[in-house]
Every structure is written in structure tokens, then in C-alpha cells.
């Protein structure tokens, strides 16, 4: 009985070891890469992760969805290699990273036209001015119906949907519309997961929401884009209006931060280079606006330098 147990045990151990060892031969980079952060940047990170894993089958890229704030928290605790952000890192987050000894490189990967969205059955809203948006979203706002925004609109209650307080989109929108990051009326359906916001706006005839352009693009059939008037006429977000900066003030850069210590690992460097090399090709499919080739190339040099690799 003892002898056969030993036999089985050693065969099992050999089998396990063989299975473990097999991964490296598939070609390309091996290792695990942890990405987290903004839900707006998520479609971008996910697209890159898919393409990267297709080229490097032995690698494992996991992409999380904690929100810009939550992502930075994990990043500055050393838990993630990359973190997506739909706003620049704040001073407080910088201090937290410095305290933990985490240095990083900020990669600007795309520009987003933060979109104001209504239900596709909404036939009276085509354009909203920044002042009207502020009137709806500011703290202490008394706007409850569409008629409170413009007298000729119906007196139906506006159902508000927006990102939660951890979201970079929330920080950015409140900063440019309400004047201060984080200043917002509290009585709206909040979620860090933009898909929930899409569901909410798509289900409610009198809903109003705001989130990244990519989520509008995926759900064009049930959502309607609202043009924003920043002082020089109503502008809809699109590649052209973002490129020439006429979609203001809601066009914003999207970032992916990578920690310098992670860059010393070959798979992290490979992924960072992949992002910058393939950005021009991958980004447009996600619905965001890609940067120019030269902008990506400049950042490529910065990444190589931070990794200590000869450019």
C-alpha cells in the first residue's frame, strides 16, 4: 500500500511539473501583467491586452475596473503595474506614491470626448450649453424637470446618471462644468461601471447622463449624443472636433501610468512599448481619438529611458 502511494505521488508530481514547464515555449513574452484603473480607459486597456496576448500567448494580462481613484490607490500600494486614468494624478496621489517609493511614467494614450447622453427616444434635446449643464449638475441644484432647464421642454423629471465619486470622469466633468473637482449634486444614480449608466439612460426616456465616448459608440442604437456649447456654438464630439479642440471643454486626455520598478521586468516594458507602438492602430476602434505618431514616439523614448534600456 505504501509503495503504490509513493508511485502515484511521484507520477502526479512529475505530471504537475511538466504542465508548469510547458508555457515558455509558445514564443513571445511570458509573465503576468496587472492593469487596473479608470472605467473610461478600460476599453483601451482591454483592447491592448487582447492584442498583446494574441501576439504573446504565454503572457497573462489582467485588466481591472476600480475607477481612476481606486486604481491609483492600488498603484501607489504597489499592487498593479499599469493604471488607467481619465484625469491626471492628483497631488495627494503623488504624495502617496512617493511615500511608498513608487516612481512612475505617465503615458498619454488617447483623447476622449466626454459625452453628454440622453435616451434615443428623447426628441427635444439637441444641444446643451455649459451653463445649462452646470445648472443641472452643480451642488445644491434645484433643477428637477426638463422645463427647469429650458421653458419649452416638457415638465418631466430628469433622471440623472453619472459616474461615482471615485471616477476620473466624475472628477474631470465636475471640474470643467462646475468649476471644482468633486463638486456635484448628490442625487443621481452613481456607478463606477459605465455599463450600468448606459443601461440606466437607455431605459429611461427622460434620462441624462455623462460618460466616455467609447460607451456611447458601443450603444449607439439606444443612446443619443448631445452637442455641447462651450461658448462658440454647439459641437458634437467626433474625431475632427477633438483633434481641432473645438469640442470644448469636455475633450480630455486619457492616461496610462506605469511604475518604473515594474518597467525593469521585460514583459512590462514589452507591454508599454506595445501600447505606444500600436496606439495609432488600436485606439480608433475603441471610439477614442488617437494621438499623432510623433507623440507616441516621444513617449516611447521616455519609457525606454525609464526602463534603463538604450533607446
Amino acid at each position: 500500500m505504501r509503495k503504490s502511494m509513493m508511485y502515484i505521488g511521484s507520477v502526479a508530481a512529475a505530471g504537475i511539473l511538466a504542465a508548469c514547464g510547458g508555457g515558455g515555449d509558445a514564443g513571445g513574452v511570458t509573465g503576468s501583467i496587472v492593469v487596473d484603473g479608470s472605467s473610461t480607459v478600460f476599453p483601451v486597456s482591454e483592447a491592448f491586452a487582447e492584442e498583446f496576448q494574441a501576439e504573446n500567448p504565454a503572457s497573462r494580462v489582467t485588466v481591472g475596473l476600480s475607477g481612476t481613484g481606486g486604481g491609483f490607490q492600488r498603484f501607489c500600494a504597489g499592487e498593479t503595474d499599469f493604471t488607467g486614468a481619465s484625469r491626471p494624478i492628483t497631488q495627494g496621489e503623488r504624495d502617496a506614491c512617493a511615500a511608498a517609493g513608487i516612481e512612475f511614467v505617465a503615458l498619454s494614450v488617447a483623447t476622449d470626448g466626454l459625452s453628454v447622453i440622453v435616451n434615443s427616444a428623447n426628441d427635444f434635446v439637441e444641444c446643451l450649453t455649459v451653463e445649462e449643464l452646470r445648472g443641472v449638475w452643480q451642488p445644491g441644484s434645484s433643477v428637477t424637470t426638463w422645463r427647469d432647464v429650458r421653458a419649452e421642454w416638457p415638465a418631466d423629471e430628469i433622471r440623472l446618471y453619472g459616474p461615482g465619486t471615485d471616477s476620473g470622469t466624475f472628477d474631470y466633468f465636475t471640474e470643467v462644468i462646475n468649476g471644482e473637482s468633486g463638486a456635484s449634486r448628490p442625487d443621481f444614480q452613481a456607478s463606477e461601471d459605465d455599463n450600468i449608466l448606459v443601461q440606466g439612460v437607455a431605459g429611461d426616456r427622460f434620462a441624462l447622463g455623462y460618460f466616455g465616448y467609447a460607451y456611447y459608440l458601443e450603444n449607439k442604437d439606444v443612446l443619443k449624443l448631445v452637442a455641447v456649447d462651450g461658448g462658440s456654438g454647439c459641437v458634437l464630439p467626433s474625431d475632427e472636433t477633438i483633434e481641432d479642440e473645438s469640442y470644448a471643454p469636455l475633450a480630455r486626455p486619457l492616461f496610462i501610468y506605469v511604475s518604473t520598478s515594474s518597467l525593469q521586468r521585460p514583459e512590462i516594458l514589452a507591454f508599454a512599448e506595445f501600447i505606444l507602438r500600436e496606439g495609432e492602430a488600436v485606439i480608433p476602434a475603441t471610439g477614442y481619438h488617437a494621438l499623432s505618431a510623433s507623440q507616441y514616439a516621444e513617449q516611447l523614448d521616455a519609457v525606454r529611458e525609464a526602463a534603463g534600456v538604450a533607446g
Binding site: 490607490q73 451642488p139 461615482g164 471615485d166 456635484s184 443621481f188
Partner: protein, 311 residues
């Protein structure tokens, strides 16, 4: 150590295990006691942690505001800590679930114990248990994607995330709890009572409703309370289907936020330790714990006080 056997003077062999048996028995007793103590210690530990952070919370927020305030806005700039909207949300979902589960569960129990043939009972009872085995997150998506559209055909003004669909699925979810505990209580009523009633010319309905149910009442009420406390503590279904909008309302067609959904929202996000938002997690959890604790104590008391022992 003494030998296990001892040859006696007359040639017989006596087993000499009294000493080692005592030691073994003691050891097993201690081990079993430790296992039982573990669960008690864990409960005490949980309560201690909750209490610690809750006391910290109430050193910053007045308990009066917490218990009587009608605005729950802990994450925005201008903070309000009135827990009543969350309580109203949890209460609405639990009440709605009770309206569905208690009658259906009790009637199912009466059917299974008094009316059903043994073969039918054998097939029906396991099927009911399957209902209890479905993961709650599946119930949540079922509510969002199937029940809500159904409600909206009857009440078109219902929000996408509403309390009614959550209460319906939570009600379905706790039917097995009510029915199996009630059925045990009903079956525990001795047949003597039934036979006596039949002997006096009572119909089956009269026996079931006038004799058996009142005799088993303490067990039935205990099962009700247990099911309701389960409904109050239900997390996934309400998080998905009921919404994230603290709303002081009794209208089940509106979006609400229950205590459990708030805990999910806050803990998934960016809540650094020691901040007031972090402490709200514990304050709300403590409230939830106290409510379910009180309900459990009440159900135990009812069971012990009103239980009728016939044998």
C-alpha cells in the same frame, strides 16, 4: 507507557486501556470544544471590530443625525449622514419580499405537509430546495433583465433600477426558507390532534387551518422572521436591480439604495482606511447586524415562549 494488554494471573488477557482511554476522551472533548468556541470567538471578533470603528464614526458624527437624518450623502463634498434613506430602502425590499414569500411559503408548507401524497412530496421538496440553491447574483440579473421589463409593461413610469423587481426576486429567493421551516413545524404537530379533529367531523381545510397551523404557530412565525432577516441582509440581488440612489421614499417603482448595496458601493471604491467614508461602512454594517440580531433573538424568544409541547 503501559502495555495495551496484560496477561492476568489466570491466563486471560485483559485490555489495559483505561488510562489511555481517559486521555483520548479528554483530548477529543477539548478538540470539539475548541471547534465550537471558534464560531463564538469569530462572532465576538466581528462584533468587536464593528464596534471599534463604529465608535470612531460616532465620535465625528452625531448619533441623532445618523438615526434621524433623511439625506445619505457621505461621499460628496457636502456630507450628510442620515441613514434613514438606506433603512427605507432595505425595509421596502424586505417588506415586498415578505408579501410574496410568506403567504406562498406557508401555503406550500401546508400543501406539502397536509395535502400532498408522499410521492409528490418527495419530488416537490427537492425542487423547492433548488430555488434556494440558485446564486443570488443570478437572481439579480434575472430581476434586471426579465422582471423589470415585465413591470414596465404594467407601470411604464418605473425606473430601470427599482425596488419592486428586487423585492420580487428576493421574495422568490426566500420562499424555500419559509416553506421548509414551516413544513417542519407543521409536521411536528402530533397526528393525535388531527385525528381528534377528524373524529369530530372537521374537513381537511378546517383541520389544517384551525388545528395544525395554530399548533405549529411558533415555528411558523420563527421561520417568517428568519426569512425576513435574510431578505434584509440580501446583497447581490438588490445591488444589481434596485439601484444606487439613496432615496427616502415608499414608492417601489423608484430607484433606491439598500444598506447592503451601499456597503458594496463604498467598499468597491476608493476608501482609504481611517477616512469618514471608511467608517460609514462599519456604521451601516453595525446597523444591519443589530437589526438581524434583534430579529434572531425575537424569533428564538417566540419559539421558546409560545412553543406548544404535546408529548
Amino acid at each position: 507507557m503501559k502495555q495495551a494488554t496484560e496477561t492476568q494471573g489466570d491466563g486471560t488477557v485483559a485490555l489495559n486501556f483505561r488510562r489511555s482511554r481517559n486521555v483520548k476522551e479528554r483530548l477529543i472533548g477539548v478538540l470539539l470544544f475548541l471547534c465550537a468556541a471558534t464560531s463564538t470567538l469569530v462572532t465576538v471578533g466581528v462584533v468587536a471590530v464593528l464596534l471599534g470603528e463604529t465608535i470612531g464614526f460616532f465620535s465625528q458624527v452625531s448619533i441623532v443625525e445618523f438615526l434621524t437624518g433623511t439625506r445619505w450623502e457621505p461621499m460628496f463634498q457636502e456630507k450628510h449622514f442620515g441613514v434613514l434613506p438606506l433603512l427605507a430602502g432595505s425595509f421596502m425590499v424586505a417588506a415586498g419580499a415578505a408579501v410574496i414569500a410568506l403567504p406562498v411559503g406557508l401555503l406550500t408548507a401546508i400543501f406539502l405537509s397536509e395535502y400532498a401524497a408522499p410521492s409528490l412530496r418527495k419530488t416537490l421538496k427537492p425542487m423547492l430546495e433548488i430555488l434556494a440553491g440558485i446564486p443570488t447574483v443570478v437572481y439579480g440579473y434575472f430581476a434586471l433583465t426579465f422582471v423589470t421589463p415585465l413591470i414596465r409593461t404594467v407601470f411604464p413610469e418605473t425606473d430601470v433600477f427599482n425596488a419592486l423587481s428586487a423585492s420580487i426576486v428576493v421574495g422568490i429567493m426566500i420562499i424555500p426558507t419559509v416553506s421548509s421551516l414551516s413544513e417542519d413545524a407543521l409536521r411536528a404537530v402530533p397526528n393525535v390532534l388531527r385525528e381528534g379533529a377528524y373524529g369530530l367531523g372537521a374537513t381537511k381545510l378546517e383541520v389544517s387551518t384551525r388545528i395544525v397551523v395554530p399548533a405549529a404557530l411558533s415555528g411558523i412565525v420563527a421561520s417568517f422572521i428568519l426569512a425576513i432577516s435574510r431578505a434584509i441582509g440580501e446583497t447581490m440581488a438588490v445591488t444589481i436591480a434596485a439601484g444606487n440612489l439613496p432615496n427616502m421614499t415608499l414608492n417601489p417603482l423608484e430607484s433606491i439604495q439598500t444598506m447592503t448595496a451601499y456597503i458594496v458601493q463604498a467598499s468597491l471604491g476608493d476608501t482609504p482606511r481611517g477616512t469618514i467614508v471608511y467608517q460609514t461602512l462599519f456604521a451601516v454594517a453595525m446597523t444591519l447586524f443589530l437589526i438581524t440580531l434583534v430579529m434572531n433573538i425575537v424569533s428564538q424568544w417566540i419559539l421558546s415562549r409560545f412553543r406548544e409541547e404535546y408529548e
